[in-house]
């Protein structure tokens, strides 16, 4: 697993529940380090154990934890980079939705060895979409639900999102775009100071 992903999950937990809580996860996982390095790779099993550990500590479903990770990545002011990089995907939420097909390629452009699941947006008309997410990162769909929800807010769009499970090896997210310009949204200027690393 790419360290960026582990690091993101770590930062989510630490920033949301505090350094002590994160220290407890480190102890439970018996890690011989306390911080994931975003530019290194780790055993994928460790990532899953980490999420399980967090879910147990919080008394939540792991799906809920993953969705919270997605929301955190976009809406936490400490982490500007993912929101900004995703906003480059399009001027409107609809453009953004259509840019998701390119997301794995965009991610690879930024970080060569970062492999994200394949994403495919299907447009059913009448503002109904399905996002298919397939790859080794089972559960990534839940992170995406959090990301999409936060990005909709960011664009000021009103959407209905539902993770409907796994079909033929792909996680499916049903998206209903109720109103593209529901609220003001956050402004996105291309030239704001470079995003800080996490």
């Amino acid at each position: 697993m790419h360290g960026l992903i582990n690091r993101a999950i770590q930062c989510f937990y630490r920033d949301t529940y505090g350094a002590l809580a994160w220290g407890e996860v480190v102890r439970q996982l018996d890690l011989d380090f306390s911080d994931f390095e975003p530019m290194l790779h780790y055993d994928s099993a460790l990532t899953h154990r980490m999420v399980d550990e967090m879910a147990a500590a919080l008394g939540k479903e792991r799906e809920a934890v993953l969705e919270d990770v997605g929301t955190y990545l976009i809406s936490n002011p400490e982490v500007e980079a993912p929101r900004r990089l995703l906003r480059f995907g399009g001027v409107t939420f609809l453009d953004f939705l259509h840019s998701l097909d390119d997301l794995p390629d965009r991610a690879r452009l930024a970080v060569e060895d970062l492999e994200l699941p394949l994403l495919e947006l299907r447009d059913h008309g009448a503002n109904q979409f399905s996002l298919l997410c397939s790859g080794d990162l089972m559960g990534f769909g839940h992170v995406l639900v959090g990301v999409l929800r936060a990005m909709a807010d960011d664009y000021g769009a009103l959407v209905f999102l539902e993770h409907t499970g796994v079909f033929h090896g792909a996680e499916v997210i049903e998206i209903t775009l109720i109103e593209a310009a529901f609220a003001e949204g956050r402004s996105f200027e291309l030239g704001v100071a470079r995003a800080e690393g996490q």
């Binding site: 480059f88 965009r106 291309l190 030239g191 470079r194 995003a195 800080e196 690393g197």
Partner: protein, 344 residues
């Protein structure tokens, strides 16, 4: 203006058109955004923009002569953002021209200076992708930079915490301090042997540091060979070594070991064409001579005994005894003149 301008606004939102006299007739929406407080239409193009390359373009006719070539220009007043452009004079344009502009390499600053958004660029323009890349790469680079800093810090910390003397592979002083304090608190008996090479400085001075390093490595090999695996051998200074011999050691055995060590160390060491000749002086203390083994005291005493060996003419060993100090007081050479900190 006509439908052509609508099309151009869409395709080239930073274009402008000039009439045959060189006045600005129409400005694309993004270009207009760069000078929100000015009405550009109606102004002379060459009064608004300064042509930096090609130079000496002063009239519309000069400008038209450069149709199809790359123009470098900038605004004359306000934020002097650099621009690149190209001029086309379509035959049906009544002697006027279309100039399409772009930011060129100044785009990263320009989008910030003018608060531009994705909607300000044509859908086919790769500027947004480029800005994405700049930002993504900066974030990735920053993460790499931080990782490098952390790794560098970890390397320094690891070196500081190292227990090995890199030249000889023996333990270093830090390691010996740990072993000694464990031995002292462990309650078992042990002997502490301080060994200082004789004539080593001469080897270093006359045959060079490479020869000196080789000699130290050979010495280390001999010390390891002449001790048991449960003993600890450390290089604690340039040519100073400490041996911790654990278990019940009597003076007779220690004397035999010391003699063998001196004998072996005195054998000439070959280094390339050179032959290096050294010897060693040794001072020994036994833990059983102390009611309560005090490491600092034992090291000090071993050092004192070592100095006595030096004083006796080197290439020998001395067991520490209180009488050594008495003798020193009685007028023998004062041993405290050793300028190092072996006792620490």
């Amino acid at each position: 203006m006509g439908p052509n301008c609508d099309m151009l606004d869409m395709f080239c939102p930073m274009h402008l058109t000039l009439d045959r006299a060189g006045h600005i007739a129409h400005v694309g929406p993004t270009l207009a955004k760069l000078r929100p407080d000015q009405v550009l239409v109606g102004q002379r193009f060459l009064e608004v923009f300064e042509l930096r390359r090609p130079r000496s373009v002063e009239a519309m006719a000069d400008l038209m002569a450069h149709a199809g070539t790359k123009l470098n220009l900038r605004f004359r007043d306000g934020q002097q953002t650099g621009l690149v452009g190209v001029l086309v004079a379509p035959p049906d344009f009544g002697g006027g021209a279309v100039i399409n502009l772009s930011f060129g390499i100044s785009v990263v600053d320009a989008v910030g200076d003018y608060a531009l958004t994705g909607a300000d660029f044509a859908a086919t323009d790769l500027t947004i992708e480029m800005l994405y890349l700049v930002e993504a790469k900066s974030a990735a680079m920053e993460a790499s930079r931080k990782l490098n800093l952390r790794l560098q810090g970890a390397k320094i910390a690891a070196e500081e915490q190292a227990f090995t003397d890199t030249l000889t592979g023996l333990k270093n002083r830090r390691a010996m301090d740990h072993v000694l304090s464990r031995a002292a608190s462990g309650g078992g008996r042990f002997a502490l042997v301080h060994l200082d090479l004789d004539f080593f400085k001469a080897v270093n001075d006359t045959k060079g540091h490479a020869a000196g390093d080789h000699v130290l490595q050979e010495v280390a090999r001999i010390l390891v060979e002449e001790t048991r695996t449960e003993d600890t051998v450390a290089r604690v200074g340039g040519d100073e070594f400490v041996l911790l011999m654990s278990g019940r050691m009597n003076r007779k055995r220690l004397a035999r070991i010391s003699e063998r060590l001196v004998e072996r160390l005195e054998k000439p060491i070959v280094f390339g064409e050179d032959t290096c000749q050294i010897s060693a002086s040794i001072g020994i203390v036994l833990s059983e001579d102390y009611a309560e083994p005090d490491i600092a005291q034992m090291q000090d005493d071993a050092d004192f005994a070592l100095y006595a060996s030096k004083h006796r003419g080197r290439a020998c060993h001395t067991f520490y005894d209180l009488s050594l100090r008495n003798a020193a007081f009685a007028g023998a050479a004062p041993p405290s003149s050793r300028g190092d900190n072996t006792t620490n």
